[in-house]
Amino acid sequence: MNSLILSAATRILVGLMLLFSVYMLIRGHNEPGGGFIGGLLATIGIVLYAISHGVAAAREALRLDPLSIAMGGLGMALFAGIMAVFFNDAFFSGQWAFPFAEGDDKGFPISTVLLFDIGVYLVVVGAVLSIVLGLEEEV
């Protein structure tokens, strides 16, 4: 689509949407958000870019093939599930660590659950983009 307004606005919007999608992803454990929502947001951002700048440009900006992103995310989620086994826990039970925790303050919590959610995020981005971009090229 050749629209100066759209392409100019998109440049700013895409960055903001991607940033927002990561924000939604990370805050998801305590506030509305999470991997699905974050992934959908990021997808819409990139689809917007594809509409204004063309699918080829969007693919180039992605650098990775969408399907590879999806499969990578699936692998990451699986890995997060398997991690629990190394800690002698049931498959897919969340593992947590709280570095810098002092008293009531939880410090900087990291977990396999976040890794899992990032996997979900990547699967959604990769899968939906591979369908949408493929369709746009098709028609």
């Binding site: 929502i37 959908l40 819409i44 897919f92 369908i131 090229e137």
Partner: protein, 766 residues
Amino acid sequence: MGNPDHRDNAGDAKSVTTKVQPSIGVGWVSALVPFALAILFVTFLPAIASGERLRFAYEWVPSLGINLTFLIDGLSLTFALLITGIGAVVALYSSVTLAGHLHYWRFVFYLLFFMFSMLGLVLADNLITLFVFWELTSVSSYLLIGFNHSSAKARRSALQALLVTGGGGLALLAGFILMGSAAGTFELSEIIASGDAIRDHALYVPIFFLVLAGAFTKSAQVPFHFWLPNAMAAPTPVSAYLHSATMVKAGIYLLARMHPALSGTDLWLWTLTVFGAATAVFASILALRQTDLKLALAYTTLMALGTLTMFLGSGATIAIAAAVTFLIVHSFYKAALFLIVGIIDYGTGTRETAQLGGLARAMPVTAVAAAAAALSMAGFPPFLGFIGKELKYEGALAVASEPLFVASAAVLANALMVAVAGIVALKPFYGHRLETPKLPQEAPFLMWIGPIGLAVLGLVFGLMPGLISGSLVQPAVTAIAGQPETVKLALWHGLNLPLLLSVLTFALGIAFYLGHGKLRSFLVRVEERLPASADELWDRFLDALKGGAAWQTRVLQGGILRRYLFIVFATLAVGGGVTLYVTGAARWPSVWPDFTIKHLLVIGLIAGGAVMTVFSISRLAAICALGVVGMGVALIFVIFGAPDVAITQLLVETLVVILVSVVMLRLPQLERDPMKGGRILDAALALAVGAVVTVILISVLDTPLDRSITAYFEDKSLPEAFGRNIVNVILVDFRALDTFGEIAVVAVAALGAFVLLKGTGKAKKP
């Protein structure tokens, strides 16, 4: 697989790239594993002989009663020794015949894979564990039969064997599950110890037939016999190992193992006796008809399997002892004879009886081994085969119901066996020297040592039956009978009826041998008259199956999206409506909620969007209106406090609008003629679905909600999963496995869409 040996003879670099040459020294390694295991199992002999049973248990899925439990008793040890011992012989042998084969290492892997599956099968003490190994033997057998995968015949035979045994395997699984629920446990030793629990259970008949379907397909009983001769497409050592000495006996093993729990009824007695006898006689007649030595042996294997089934039908100790002894005898001589046929093939280039004769001078060692194995097969004294045959006759006469029937079947089958032994082991080696494709020469040491060893064992055990009677046969009979039994094997039983029957057998057998040329042409003529062989019927069955599948695909998968949607929604409307009507579940709420202006606005938005979607003339407008409906639904989620769902709905709706508009804008203008019949039908269906879903939702909301699960998540979310957003905590922690399944579906859907899009061939500009 790289082989470091090649680096040394770098002079012949070209052949290295095309052909991997495993040296014979490396081939030994493949025999080492089974050999070491055989030694290991031999160390169990004293304990087993003294009546012990060794049990090893590892937890697998304890909550379902599925455990990796293994039991070593007389029966499983007998099988384990045969599997590992013959496995070692076969591995040695194939290190020569398959030396230089491009896929030699693949072959070794398959062979060891099979061996471990088979060992697991006979040692398992849990029904489900046994079943898993049972299926693994089918899979490895498939790989081994189809080892020469460039041959269409080998591929067909492999698939046929897999389908027949796999189909039986499914029946077996059902039988095992019924048996497990009837006995209250999946542990075999407990089921066997439970006495009449299964026999008196209401489900005994289905259990019996399901288990039998598994055993009969695996052990190739009539009418499932046809896959076994076809399986001879496998390399000869494989035929010797799987389709003669071990795998096909898995069905026999199963019958023997289940004997204490299932036998003793008239049903068991008659089914096993009749099918076993039919298989034995039918197969030994067909064995005479074959001109290919390997095929003749394959049919005699069928005969052996039939005989074993027939004897397991009986509960008499002597019949069971006959079965166990014959099992051992048969494994020895049949594996040896298969390997000998392989040597003949290897040395002369043919297996056709008509082309073979007078080879004894060129292949003296093989001739000796063949003679020894064949004498054991024919049941001549002092070979173990003689003891086996005498026991068979004694056992046959001890069968309570129909001694005459069983004994005459045994005599006929055995007489034919004598004739086949002569055809396989005498005719190729003695008489006139005939022209063969290759100049006959003696096989290398590693090939003949196995058959000689097996044949010598047959002789040694024949002369000194005490070596196996106390340590193997008696514990095995005890395990099959389910109670302590005493068995004594002896070469000389005195002048009695079995000995008379033996003499009769030899006389008949020699007559069959002398007249086998005429008999064969007679059988060929009979065969030509028959409408179809079982093998052809199998093909017809498969064709019919494929035809049926194609037909129902044509009917159900018309490829018209509109029809799919119609069927799906019609099913929903009719199914839901009928269920509501029949169960009387439809309710009308006693109290209506208070609608505020907020609610009414959202309802108006959704309804307006729906109406607009249906009546708009432009596609773009219809899509946007559909988007409005979705946004309205998202608003409902917002109003009732589900922000996560609302956001997801909103985003999905946005994406759907983009996606659909990308596709649909390329389509022609909508044709909307309200008078068209199809559209009226669509409208009726849409209204029906809407009505049914509405009634269902109202009825569901009128029933009190069970909040226990919600309360649990509210309680545990923060303290155990460190998250305040319950929806997300459920998704990524409590129900992470479900989520993983869902994202796997998403990824696979993307893969499918990718293939569909690329498949049109105009997707991407280069």
